[in-house]
Symmetry: C2
Subunit: 110 residues, 2 copies
DNA sequence: TCCACCTACAACCATGTGGTTGTACGTTAG
DNA sequence: CTAACGTACAACCACATGGTTGTAGGTGGA
């Protein structure tokens, strides 16, 4: 069962990408302004390759995109996927609200 | 850096819990109405113990709660945590919108 | 009481994940 | 041209995850 417009595997990828503090932090950095991978790597206590992997996970989830600028690869935040996750969560809340409304109706009838 | 009101480890737990189709499906089922663990287990092509583990992951993320009813354990959906995730995502979108509104400033910034 | 049901949990296994180091390749600066 | 930089990727390791089966305990019904 798919609740929102997000396909199962896509939801998997997006939520998994967000389930790591480093990746969420990378996301906030590149959403503010594009940064190169090595520029990002400087901010974390891990190897360049590790940061590169985190960026790859975010890219697979379509949360970021990369654009070549000379010998650098500039990472940009993609807000569209983020918005789709927000809509998915809204769908869950919608389901809950309906249930809550029904409960309220039942309570009113008493 | 913590963007929203969700602590780092809590965000980890919540997003990780949501990064699995079975768990998201369990969530939709119990958000509509409370169900026992074995009742849930009947709907999935895996062992009872596996479903029990998924429920445990959701419980650690505070997305569901369990209440004893006789010899059954009724699983209920907790909407509060869900709402907090939605707020966190709203915060990301807020950051992005800020960027869109003030692209010139940000270009000067870094 | 006794048995069946629901749950909890431990032990175990295969696979995935997050980290490392090393190597290779294209691009820019000097 | 050469050297340094930025990136990509493979190989490897430790550990977490998702699944299994088996065992044990508490509760309800007959």
């Amino acid at each position: 069962m798919v609740v929102g417009g997000l396909a199962g595997t896509e939801a998997d990828r997006v939520f998994h990408a967000l389930a790591d503090a480093t990746r969420r932090d990378i996301l906030t950095k590149v959403i503010r302004s594009g940064k190169s991978v090595s520029e990002l790597a400087q901010h974390y206590p891990m190897s360049f390759a590790a940061v590169q992997k985190h960026v790859a996970v975010l890219e697979r989830a379509a949360l970021i995109s990369k654009v070549r600028r000379g010998r650098e690869q500039i990472v940009h935040g993609e807000v569209t996927a983020l918005r789709r996750v927000a809509l998915l969560l809204d769908a869950y809340e919608e389901i809950w609200r309906h249930r809550a409304d029904r409960i309220a109706d039942i309570l009113d009838q008493e």
